[in-house]
Symmetry: none
Subunit: 412 residues, 2 copies
């Protein structure tokens, strides 16, 4: 089995609040190819330490991947350090500089002189094109060792790795392939799920099963190993089907999709439409729904009715209703959904009103009290939630619960 | 200035879903003592790699901290590897074994034979008591270098570090303290900023300056060192002021605050209100504004007018205007802002309409074409953006540009 080391470069990654997450994604990709990650390092913009780390890695591993430090400024030292670690020179490449110049031009800007640094690569190496940024990646073969130099931003690194690195390293990978699959479950706790499905997954020796809580849901991670992708995928599929059968509608996703994608697919398939009225989530539900490309097919509109006046004016809610029950109540949530459905003409209207905190809680309605409602041609259904967590989590969990209410309504 | 390296040990930390978080907490503690973390590694239960990593770290840093790998089983290799890396022996300590035995006894259990391994420590080292677990830590002085061996579970590691490690390394830490400060800048590129401010920050020998691009903005990270917090803060303040003066209103945050917080503070201070009308951002701007606790003071409402019908119905936009200029146009952006201001009565109304992609682009208005507008009592101002990136980035950058348009309008 081939071994890999990952070196994340950048002093900002050595602060108390920053962590290198690229290596997790890279590890997953490498494992899928049957390559094991044996060591990860984080080094600052510190040429001597970086050079030593590179030399050690190159001397003991088959694949060495660096991330970051390819920017245009002086503290970006990766190019120089990689070259020195293998005793090579940096060479200027006019074609790369021209590409960078064109990229700036396409945004109506001139290339700053400092970006010329990004047109230098290690002599004798291959250039890895960057479709989302100025810094190209570098691929070096030094004896049997592959050295892969990637930019730090995930949006640049990921497509570069998928498109240009995997084809270069895949040929040498071993014969065991790992494949991952994620199921997502709402409305059930971690231990309840484990009790229900442990007898199933324990009979799959070749699949590792992990059960993880993630913000609002529980995720079931399956990692199968097989001689090839197809057979590994088939084992995951087999186990995923048995788990889905056991847990029923609580499983909203069997291939890692987000809730908003699942709902988008259901709406598209049925040719139905959606509108939302949000108070405490402040636009989060609209944002999540429209994060899905093509959502204009089914998403008509959203209203962020943060103030009472906005609720009354925009959704034609009776002020007396708010007076009587409070803005955070099942009655107002239902009126919001009904008002939005009437206004928009959507098949479904979804609403949320609640206390996200940290202020605004009362004894009767403490922080975390949230009402959600869904309206369609068959009527209105609402639900009260009591959510733990801080402002961020309460808002996120509210949005997830509202979307799940819609999902279950559609399945009814 | 003392330097430290942190080595996290355990094969589970090299999986795609696990990350070493102990090092973040340790970095914060070390920085408070004026000790800089220069390198972090994650090594599996792999004696040769671990030994080499330890040797390198000991050869170049003042303090080397390992976490994990002190369990009772055979894959816990830290004790042996540390001993070998400094050419020392492991010795059995009867008093430690007796302590572990007592700990088991207090839970009504007998010590399993395998736990005897945890009673071995490096010859000549000091034992660091573990109040929350069986594995003691180890403190070794090798010449001038301090080697600190800690257990992996955070609830064992943290009190051990606070109670037994800080007193041992603090005396030698010298009097230097590090303080961090982040400035955030919009509307200028990384290289343009570096060109403008390099002459300033280069004259501050005691402050390390890093310039980083982050989604839509550039961040300037200052790390100063001083004899105490106050003097280090003062140096950051001095440099931050000079940079702010040089870059002017492009600097929107001088203490790391998010744009939505900066705007919220400005609105609160002035007693003004805000409403937003969003198309391609789908609720993201509302979500960001209301992410700030207390935003109900100044945020009145938002409209996510995704369909043309919603734009016409909710914001009283003339359908002929959309027909003539298209939904993605300066004219419609301005009408959206004007319509929302009229409807809500807010001091400011902000609007966004654009093509977030991946579909929907045309030759005239390709993906990334976005119009933003702000309306207030003095009139309406709009701006056209041509944004690079994928759907996520275009939406995020649109939201940031719109908020920045509002900020600059308020500063006018």
């Amino acid at each position: 089995m081939l071994t890999a080391e990952i070196i994340a470069i950048g002093s900002e990654l050595l602060s108390p609040s920053k962590t290198d997450t690229n290596s997790l994604w890279l590890t997953e990709r490498l494992n899928e190819l049957g390559i094991q990650v044996c060591l990860k390092s984080v080094v600052g913009d510190d040429p001597p330490r970086l050079e030593e780390t590179l030399r050690d890695a190159i001397s003991r591993s088959d694949i060495v991947i660096t991330t970051g430090g390819l920017g245009p400024t002086e503290d970006d030292v990766t190019r120089e350090s990689v070259a020195r670690s293998i005793g090579a020179e940096l060479v200027h490449r006019e074609d790369i500089e021209e590409g960078i110049r064109q990229r700036f031009k396409s945004f109506g800007r001139e290339m700053p002189a400092v970006n010329r640094r990004q047109a230098y690569i290690v002599d004798g190496s291959e250039v890895l094109p960057n479709s989302n940024g100025t810094a190209p990646g570098i691929f070096i073969k030094k004896g049997e060792v592959s050295i892969v130099v990637l930019p730090g931003p995930p949006r640049e690194l990921k497509p570069m790795f998928t498109d240009h690195v995997i084809p270069r390293i895949n040929g040498g990978a071993g014969r065991i392939v790992f494949r991952k699959r994620v199921l997502k479950v709402t409305g059930l706790g971690e231990s309840a799920i484990d009790e229900a499905v442990a007898p199933i997954y324990k009979s799959f020796d070749d699949v590792t099963t992990g059960i993880l809580f993630n913000r609002a849901d529980v995720e079931i991670h399956l990692t199968s190993k097989g001689a090839d992708q197809a057979s590994a995928d088939a084992r995951n599929e087999e186990l995923a089907s048995l788990i889905s059968e056991k847990l029923g509608t609580a499983v909203y996703s069997t291939a890692g999709e987000e809730m908003e994608k699942v709902i988008g697919d259901m709406l598209t398939e049925r040719g139905q439409t959606l509108a939302v009225a949000e108070s405490c989530t402040g636009g989060l539900i609209g944002e999540r729904i429209t994060d899905v490309a093509g959502s204009s097919l089914y998403f008509l509109e959203g209203a962020v009715v943060y103030s009472n006046e906005a609720k009354i004016r925009t959704l034609a809610i009776d002020g007396a209703l708010i007076e009587k029950f409070g803005a955070v109540s099942a009655e107002v949530a239902e009126a919001m959904a009904e008002g939005m459905r009437g206004k928009s003409g959507a098949t479904y209207a979804l609403s949320v009103t609640g206390v996200a905190g940290p202020g605004g809680g009362t004894e009767e309605k403490p922080v975390g009290t949230v009402f959600i409602a869904v309206a369609d041609a068959n009527g209105i259904k609402s639900s009260k939630l009591t959510l733990p967590g801080d402002r961020y989590l309460i808002r996120w969990r509210s949005s997830q619960a509202a979307l799940d209410l819609l999902r279950r309504r559609m399945l009814d």
